[in-house]
């Protein structure tokens, strides 16, 4: 998710402590000039990862610190992982394969490209999964692995983590 606040003296520092207090993980701090016409004030965006259900607590702590949060952007699906699947994807119910990940609620398949060369030969697909946290991505990959084992599909995972 993204927090935006005015870049007034002390605000950034005041925001950091509550974030770590609720177990959040700061991914980036971005200074952004709004529009050229606007005043001299800068916006600060903090991109962070937050454990499920801690947002209310964080906002409360930030208010206590006098931090003025302008906007909260819930960029839920921060992590992305692309894999390739090979096998009889249609015969083994591709939509079920996708559903098994989507029904987790915390990760979803956001892209799928399928190539089917000939009726009886195995097809190949590129599948992109997005998730809110790294752990949820790991879980989604584990689910995909076990589905692949059941359905005799080959999964090609990326060398680097999401």
């Amino acid at each position: 998710m993204k927090l935006e606040m005015r870049d007034q003296p002390g605000q950034l520092v005041a925001a950091l402590q509550p974030i770590s207090a609720v177990g959040g993980n700061i991914i980036a701090v971005i200074h952004q000039r709004e529009t050229p016409a606007a005043t001299e004030t800068l916006d600060v965006q903090i991109v962070l990862e937050l454990p499920e259900g801690r947002l209310e607590k964080l906002l409360e702590l930030l208010r206590e610190q006098g931090v003025n949060v302008v906007r909260i952007g819930e960029e839920r699906l921060l992590y992305e992982c692309t894999m390739i699947m090979i096998g009889h994807l249609m015969h083994t119910d591709l939509s079920d394969t996708v559903d098994r990940i989507d029904t987790t609620g915390s990760a979803e398949v956001t892209e799928l490209s399928l190539v089917m060369p000939a009726i009886s030969s195995p097809s190949s697909a590129r599948i992109t999964i997005r998730s809110t946290t790294r752990d949820e991505m790991k879980r989604a990959i584990r689910i995909l692995r076990s589905v692949a084992e059941q359905k005799h599909l080959l999964i090609i995972e990326p060398l680097e983590d999401a």
Binding site: I84, P117, S124, L154, I156, P158
Partner: protein, 328 residues
């Protein structure tokens, strides 16, 4: 320094050629192939032995066998370069035990005994006050084992991964370049002598798995066996899969990976960005080692080949000579 060589195939002959071509101060006093052998304390005529072998004959006489060379020849170091057997390590395991028992150093390119019996052999070498070196067993010419044991000695290795099998890398390179099917690329690799008639050992990831076991057991303080390696080969890969990877500026490589802390050893095809240093072409090998002090290091080089593998064997021989063998 006097050595005895068991196995006079690609690697054994590469060693002989290097000794003939360069002034390495190495004398070969024993030599054997599968059918014959020679013992000569004054030094074997390597050029003659090579010529005999190249004409399809045996390297020596039928009355001398490898066991005779091990037990009777006069050598400082036994060079064991017979074929790898990952089931029981034989006959190499017996050869190595025999030499160590005679207080002789051993240098080998043979993966079987090192993957299966390293703790025993290491203890046997130590008890007899001799070295056991095996640089050539992993990634041919790349001095990976030396780098990890010596150069990176104070480091903790958190992850190690790379391309350990040149045959698979060749096949995948060709599938990506020219949209060949797996079968077409394999046929081409066979024609060029990169793949065996039975390619199972390479394409099913067994070879890469054995190399992981060697690194895990000898350098990373793990106790593993081939069965502990999660293993997927490349036989099911399709040209379409490579094209789908290509669309994202990625490609597919057979990657061997060890994560010591998690106890993970795995060999599987993986999606890798084309700009990644591990994406090497043809039969090359490449390994990245992640360490705490030195950061990430990537080694790239020839993982097989006659003279290339001989380079690793000779490196081990000279290492031993410089530290141990008096006179030569």
């Amino acid at each position: 320094m006097r050595i005895a060589i068991l196995g006079f195939g690609s690697v054994g002959r590469g060693i002989a050629r290097a000794i003939l071509a360069k002034n390495l101060d190495i004398t070969v006093t024993g030599l054997a192939d599968s059918r014959s052998g020679i013992i000569d304390p004054a030094g074997i005529d390597l050029a003659a032995a090579l010529a005999k072998k190249e004409n399809g004959g045996p390297c020596g006489g039928p009355d001398v066998g490898p066991a005779d060379v091990v037990a009777k020849a006069d050598y400082d170091v036994l060079v064991e370069v017979t074929p790898t057997n990952v089931d029981d390590g034989e006959p190499a395991l017996g050869h190595i035990r025999g030499a160590l028992g005679r207080h002789k150093h051993v240098v080998t390119s043979n993966k079987g005994p090192i993957a299966l019996a390293y703790p025993e052999l290491r203890d046997l070498a130590a008890a007899n006050g001799v070295f056991l070196k095996y640089e050539a067993t992993v990634c041919g010419a790349i001095p990976l084992i030396h780098a990890m044991q010596e150069g990176l000695a104070g480091n903790t290795i958190s992850r190690l991964y790379g391309v350990f099998n040149g045959t698979c890398n060749y096949i995948l390179t060709r599938m990506a370049e020219d949209s060949l099917t797996y079968e077409q690329a394999l046929a081409e690799a066979r024609e060029l002598g990169y793949a065996e008639a039975d390619p199972t050992y390479d394409v099913e990831g067994i070879d890469a798995g054995v190399k992981l076991v060697i690194l895990a057991n000898t350098i990373l303080d793990m106790r593993t066996a081939l069965d502990d390696v999660e293993r997927t080969g490349i036989t099911l890969l399709t040209p379409e899969a490579l094209r789908l990877a290509e669309d994202q500026d990625c490609t597919i490589r057979l990657i061997g990976e060890i994560v010591p802390e998690a106890g993970v050893l795995r060999v599987s095809p993986r999606l890798v960005a084309k700009a990644h240093p591990l994406v090497v072409e043809g039969t090359l090998n490449a390994v990245t080692v992640e360490t705490d002090l030195a950061g990430d290091l990537t080694f790239i080089g020839k993982g097989a080949g006659s003279v290339e593998t001989a380079s690793a064997v000779i490196g081990d021989l000279l290492y031993i000579r410089d530290r141990h063998v008096q006179g030569s």
